[in-house]
C-alpha cells in the first residue's frame, strides 16, 4: 500500500493541486502585470494628451494668418524696429518678444542651481559619510520637510523677508530681482538634489570605503575621492531634476522676481519668467487671441526645453555610468 502510493505519489493529488495553483498564480500574475503596465501607460497617455493640447493651442503662431500679423516666430524671437525686445502684450501696439522672458527664466534657474547644488550635495555627503546616526535622523527629515512647504509660502517669505535682507546686505535698487528669486527657488531645489544625491551616496558599496580606508586614506579623502566620484551619475541626475524643478517653478518667481521683463545681464535686475508670465496672464486672455496663442507657445517651448534638458541629462548620466563601469 504504502509503497504503491509512493511510486506515483505527488503526481496524483498534490501534483494536480500544485498545477492548479500554478495556473491561478499565472492568471493573477498576468493580471497584475497588465494593471501595472496600465498604470505606466496612464502617465504616458497623460503626457501625450497634454502635449497635443498645448501644441494644438500653440499652432496658430505658425498657421493662422490672423494671429501671425500680430505674433509670428520672427516677432517672438527677433528684435523689432524701434522697440527691440519688448514684452508688452496688453497694449495699443502689442509686442510679444519672448527673449526677455527666456533670459529671465535662465537667470533665475541658473542662480538657483548654482546656489542649491553645492549646498545640497555637500549636505548629502555629510549626512551619508560623516554625520552620527543621531545627526542624520535630524537633518534628513528636516531637509525633506523643506520640500513639503507650499511654494506660495516660500514665495511670500521671499517677498516679505528675504528680499529685505538681501537688499540691505547688497544695497540693490530693486528689492525683487533675479537673485532674490533664484535664492527663493533654491529653497525648492535643495530638497530634491539632496534626497536624490543622498540616495546615490548610500548606494556606493561599503567595500569601496573599506578598501580606501585600508589603503590609508582618511575619511575625508575617502568621501571626496572615492564616494563622490562613485556616486557621480546619481549626483548628476539630481542636478538635472533640480534644474527641471527650478525652470518650471511658478509661485516663487511670481512673488519674488518683480516680474519686469527686462533684458539684461545683471543679476540684480528684475526678471519675468515663462512660468510666471503664463500664471499671471492666462487667466485674463480672450480665448483665441494672439496673446492666448503666444502664452501656449511659451508653454510648449518650456515643455520642449525641459524635455531636452532631461534627455541630455540622461545621456550624460548614462555616459558617466559606462565610464565608471569600464574603469572598475
Amino acid at each position: 500500500m504504502r509503497s504503491s502510493r509512493l511510486l506515483s505519489p505527488e503526481k496524483t493529488i498534490e501534483g494536480k493541486l500544485l498545477q492548479k495553483f500554478r495556473g491561478a498564480e499565472r492568471l493573477t500574475d498576468r493580471l497584475a502585470a497588465v494593471l501595472i503596465k496600465g498604470c505606466a501607460f496612464v502617465a504616458i497617455v497623460a503626457l501625450v494628451l497634454i502635449f497635443v493640447f498645448i501644441g494644438k493651442e500653440a499652432l496658430p503662431i505658425f498657421t493662422s494668418p490672423e494671429v501671425r500679423t500680430e505674433a509670428d516666430l520672427g516677432k517672438l524671437l527677433l528684435p523689432q524696429p524701434e522697440r527691440g525686445f519688448v514684452w508688452q502684450p496688453v497694449s495699443e501696439r502689442p509686442a510679444y518678444s519672448i527673449l526677455p522672458l527666456l533670459a529671465g527664466t535662465l537667470k533665475a534657474t541658473i542662480i538657483a542651481v548654482v546656489f542649491a547644488v553645492p549646498l545640497a550635495v555637500a549636505a548629502a555627503l555629510f549626512t551619508s559619510e560623516f554625520a552620527t546616526p543621531w545627526a542624520r535622523e535630524v537633518i534628513k527629515p528636516a531637509i525633506e520637510i523643506l520640500a513639503g512647504i507650499p511654494s506660495v509660502v516660500v514665495g511670500f517669505f521671499c517677498l516679505m523677508v528675504l528680499a529685505g535682507w538681501l537688499q540691505s546686505a547688497f544695497g540693490w535698487t530693486y528689492r525683487l530681482n533675479a537673485t532674490t528669486a533664484g535664492i527663493g527657488l533654491s529653497l525648492a531645489v535643495i530638497p530634491i538634489v539632496y534626497t536624490v544625491s543622498e540616495d546615490a551616496f548610500s548606494s556606493v558599496p561599503q567595500r569601496f570605503r573599506d578598501g580606501s580606508v585600508a589603503m590609508g586614506a582618511s575619511r575625508w579623502q575617502t568621501a571626496w575621492r572615492v564616494v563622490l566620484p562613485g556616486a557621480s551619475p546619481g549626483v548628476l541626475a539630481a542636478c538635472v531634476l533640480g534644474f527641471g524643478r527650478a525652470i518650471g517653478e511658478t509661485m516663487i518667481v511670481l512673488m519674488a522676481s518683480g516680474n519686469a521683463a527686462v533684458l539684461s545681464w545683471s543679476a540684480s535686475d528684475s526678471i519675468r519668467t515663462f512660468s510666471a508670465t503664463i500664471a499671471a496672464e492666462l487667466g485674463e486672455v480672450v480665448m483665441g487671441s494672439p496673446h492666448y496663442h503666444v502664452l501656449f507657445f511659451i508653454g510648449a517651448f518650456l515643455f520642449v526645453l525641459t524635455f531636452f534638458i532631461n534627455l541630455t541629462g540622461q545621456w550624460w548620466v548614462g555616459r558617466l555610468q559606462k565610464k565608471l563601469r569600464g574603469g572598475s
Partner: protein
C-alpha cells in the same frame, strides 16, 4: 490577447479623459439657488462681505465670490462660467460684443460702489503731492529719480499690478493715456503684495485701492497742472474732485432675473451700500 487588453485599457482611458472634459460645463445654477460672483481682486473683500450679509438674511441662497482680476471675471462672464462679474473697470466694447455673440444678450452694467485709486509711497517719504503728469513720467520711465520730485538722490522703484487687473487697466488709461508701462516697472500679483513691497522699500511707489492703505502713505494727487492736491476721501471721491476715482461695477449677461436681481437690488439699497464704508470703499452718491 495581452495587446488587445492593453489597447482597450488605453482606449478606455482616453475616452474617460474626453468624457471628463465634456462634463465640466454642467452644474452651476440648480435648485439650491447658487449665485456665482467672479472678477476684480479689488472687489473681492467687498463682494464677500455683501455675500455674507445677504446669505445671513436669506438662508436659501448661497453666493460664491472669487477673485482673479476684472479681466478674469469678464472672461468668465463671456464663457458663461459666472452669474455676476465684478469689475473695477468699464467693459470694453469688444468684450460687450463677445457677450452678445455668445449669449445673444446685451450686457447689463450696474455701478455698485466707488473707489479711489491711491498712490502709495513709503511712510518715510516726505513728498507732499504728485501730479498726474509726474505719475505718467514715472511709470513711462522718463522720470526715474526722487530728486526731481524734491527728495533725496535715489532711483524710483515702481510697482504695478499684473495686466489681468482692472486697476492696471484703469491706471493705464487714466494716467498713462493708454501708452505702455516702462519695461522696468515691476508687477506684482495683487494689491496686498504691492502694499507689502512699498511698505518694505523706502524708494518705491505703487498704486491700488484705498481700502488697502495700511502700512504706507497715500500721496495727495494733483489732477490738472496748477490745480490743488487732493487726498482720497469720501467727499473728494463722491464729488469726483479726487482725480483717480472710479466706479466699481457688477456685470450680468442680459437683465438680471429672479434671485440674482434680488441680490443686486439689495446691494444697491442703503443697507448694502453701508457695507462699502466698512470695507474701505465709498457708497454711490445718492440720487
Amino acid at each position: 490577447m495581452r495587446r488587445v487588453s492593453l489597447a482597450l485599457l488605453v482606449g478606455a482611458l482616453v475616452c474617460l479623459c474626453f468624457a471628463g472634459c465634456g462634463g465640466t460645463e454642467t452644474g452651476g445654477s440648480g435648485e439650491r439657488k447658487v449665485i456665482t460672483v467672479k472678477g476684480s481682486d479689488t472687489m473681492v473683500i467687498l463682494g464677500q462681505r455683501w455675500a455674507e450679509e445677504y446669505m445671513n438674511k436669506n438662508p436659501g441662497i448661497s453666493i460664491q465670490v472669487t477673485g482673479g482680476g476684472s479681466g478674469t471675471g469678464i472672461a468668465a462672464l463671456i464663457n458663461g462660467a459666472t452669474d455676476i462679474c465684478e469689475s473695477s473697470r468699464p467693459m470694453k466694447e469688444k468684450e460687450k460684443q463677445d457677450i452678445r455673440a455668445r449669449h445673444g444678450k446685451e450686457v447689463k452694467e450696474i455701478p455698485v460702489a466707488l473707489d479711489g485709486l491711491a498712490i502709495y509711497v513709503h511712510h518715510s517719504n516726505p513728498i507732499q503731492s504728485i501730479t498726474r503728469a509726474q505719475l505718467k513720467s514715472i511709470y513711462r520711465g522718463r522720470l526715474s529719480n526722487w530728486r526731481e520730485l524734491g527728495w533725496e538722490n535715489a532711483q524710483i522703484v515702481t510697482y504695478s499690478r499684473e495686466n489681468n487687473s482692472g486697476t492696471y487697466v484703469f491706471f493705464k488709461e487714466h494716467i498713462l493715456d493708454n501708452e505702455d508701462f516702462a519695461e522696468n516697472v515691476q508687477t506684482l500679483p495683487g494689491t496686498a503684495a504691492i502694499v507689502n513691497a512699498v511698505a518694505n522699500d523706502r524708494r518705491s511707489i505703487g498704486y491700488g485701492g484705498i481700502a488697502y492703505s495700511t502700512g504706507i502713505r497715500a500721496v495727495p494727487v494733483v489732477g490738472k497742472e496748477g490745480g490743488e492736491a487732493v487726498s482720497p476721501s469720501l467727499e473728494t471721491v463722491q464729488s469726483g474732485k479726487y482725480p483717480l476715482s472710479r466706479n466699481l461695477y457688477f456685470y450680468t449677461a442680459g437683465e438680471p432675473l429672479g434671485h440674482i436681481k434680488e441680490f443686486i437690488n439689495w446691494v444697491l439699497s442703503d443697507e448694502g451700500q453701508k457695507t462699502c464704508d466698512q470695507v474701505g470703499y465709498y457708497p454711490l452718491k445718492k440720487q
